[in-house]
């Protein structure tokens, strides 16, 4: 399902290497806030659409602060959408209860929950992408490790991320070599596949062995130590408490409804 688009990861890393106020925030602050965001968004009843609107502010603010191009995020959303779309589309088919909309229109309630699924999807995915794009894998892992992520797993993530490019490049060269020698552009037979991938696997294992040698050469004793340069500042505290308060407010009060009443004069 997930193709190893080395380019996708590379683009993400380029964005993560930008300098911006969002990038300068401590990874822990962004991780905690993003997590709270996800929980808040997902905790809404399933037909809720309008009350989700205020939550757009968080990914939009983070992405804008970070100078992350909106087109990039939109493209990622489209690419990732099919599963949620597919499962969500059953809702309008299965849930036919009519619901009145403003203006005397009626729709099946399933359409509302479908819209809600799409809104949740767009919110959660863009927030998660914003987190990584504004933080970078290295700082995120270091931050999560300080929040209690097991060291072994943090290191695993870092190594995986580091060697993604290297091994993907090898795979790409293999695929290219294969394409040059096959006329019809079809995927190879299982037998050829086995030896291709087997070779790639053996080469990967050899590389792991060499990396291990290089680690030993510089005193590796089973423990990966990181510099951990991050500092928690007042800005991080402000960022965290501010957003948490906002998420809570938007969760307990239907802010759009409130704003709308103000505007349409319904408020007494």
């Amino acid at each position: 399902m997930a193709m190893a688009h080395g380019g996708t990861v590379q683009r993400m890393d380029e964005l993560a290497a930008l300098e911006s106020p969002a990038h300068r925030l401590d990874a822990r602050a962004k991780a905690v806030v993003t997590f709270a965001f996800l929980v808040a968004v997902m905790s809404f009843p399933r037909h809720e659409v309008v009350a989700l609107a205020p939550y757009v502010l968080y990914p939009v603010a983070l992405l804008s602060l970070g100078g992350i191009p909106a087109r990039w995020i939109l493209k990622k959303l489209l690419v990732a959408a099919p599963f949620a779309l597919f499962i969500g589309l059953f809702n309008p088919l299965l849930d036919r209860q009519p619901v009145a909309l403003p203006g005397g229109l009626f729709v099946a309630a399933g359409w509302l929950s479908f819209a809600s699924i799409l809104a949740r999807f767009a919110l959660t995915v863009s927030a998660a992408l914003a987190l990584v794009a504004c933080t970078g894998m290295d700082r995120l892992c270091a931050g999560l490790e300080r929040l209690g992520l097991p060291r072994a797993f943090a290191v695993q993530l870092l190594f995986l991320h580091r060697y993604l490019f290297v091994i993907s490049d090898e795979a790409r060269r293999m695929r290219y070599g294969l394409a040059l020698r096959t006329a019809d552009g079809r995927a190879p037979s299982l037998r050829v596949y086995g030896s291709l991938l087997g070779h790639l696997l053996l080469r990967s294992m050899d590389r792991a062995q060499r990396i291990y040698g290089a680690m030993l050469a510089r005193g590796f004793d089973g423990e990966i130590r990181i510099l951990g340069t991050a500092r928690w500042t007042a800005r991080d505290a402000l960022f965290t408490t501010g957003w948490l308060a906002f998420f809570a407010a938007a969760r307990f009060w239907n802010l759009p409804e409130f704003a709308g009443r103000l505007l349409t004069g319904e408020l007494r």
């Binding site: 804008s64 100078g67 619901v99 403003p102 190594f159």
Partner: protein, 339 residues
Amino acid sequence: MHMADALISPAVGGTMWAASAGLLAWCARKIRQTLDHRLVPMMGVLGAFIFASQMINFSIPGTGSSGHLGGGLILAILLGPHAAFLVIASVLTVQALFFADGGLLALGCNIWNLGFYPAFIAFPFIYKPLAGANRATPRAWAAAILAAVIGLQLGAFSVVLETTASGISELPFGSFVLLMSPVHLAIGIVEGLATATVVAFVARARPEAVPSPAGSASLKPALIGLGIAALIVGGAVSWFASAHPDGLEWSIAKVSGREEVGGGAALHEKLARVQEKTAFLPDYGFQPAEEPAAEGEPGPEPWPAVSAGTTVSGVVGGLLVLLVAGAAGLALRPRRVAS
């Protein structure tokens, strides 16, 4: 079958996070105890390999389509269950973070569905006892295919359970199973074939790279494995069935749209109670959407509070908020100094 955040509830997401995190911590400790420091780079590189392997496909005879390696089973064969689980978890995390393939709160579900079953059920109870010492025999192939199929079936089944328990999708349990199961049977066979082929090649080219299975070729663990699989599936089905005495008939009726609303109402309420206790936003967290509304409104299916957000002022306010968010976004953009 990566689940997205949009389809799960915090209660389900949280439960599965706890389960996966606990398992992860346990695996991390187990790996430390082996004191095999070589595993550190090996796990990282093999995780990258799993990604890269998906760039190369093989053609499935007679179908015109192509397949590739899945990951879970081959990692368990090469690294053992604990390290394999950690690697799978890391692959899924990177997929969620970089490709938006599977959500962050759904990550617990995804790690469990795609990591636990292949590493801790399919490998130790199916593949290991059945494969035999020679990885190139039909027997080893059959073992890989069976293990991959069972691992994926259990995973797919969990997806259905978690989605249904979340109550956001309207897909009823039974028809969701009917939707997922055959698809993942096919995927499982393809993954089994790919795994067996690659393992056979590596075992031939460099025997020491593939740990040999522990001598005993007894069928007992395999039977235990199948038993566990059956228990999980059976237990879940009966849970739902007890909520709906007419079992499968109910799910069919549900698809046709005539039977009363209320997919996994019992489970749903149970989870809601769990959630109240764990206090994820106690008052609002999890409105039991299926709870029959008390007012005798007309129409066969009573409906929960859908009205709040659908008034004129709601829509106007929603648009206003979006507008404000957009403006804020523009205002916050860093002004890039020409460099």
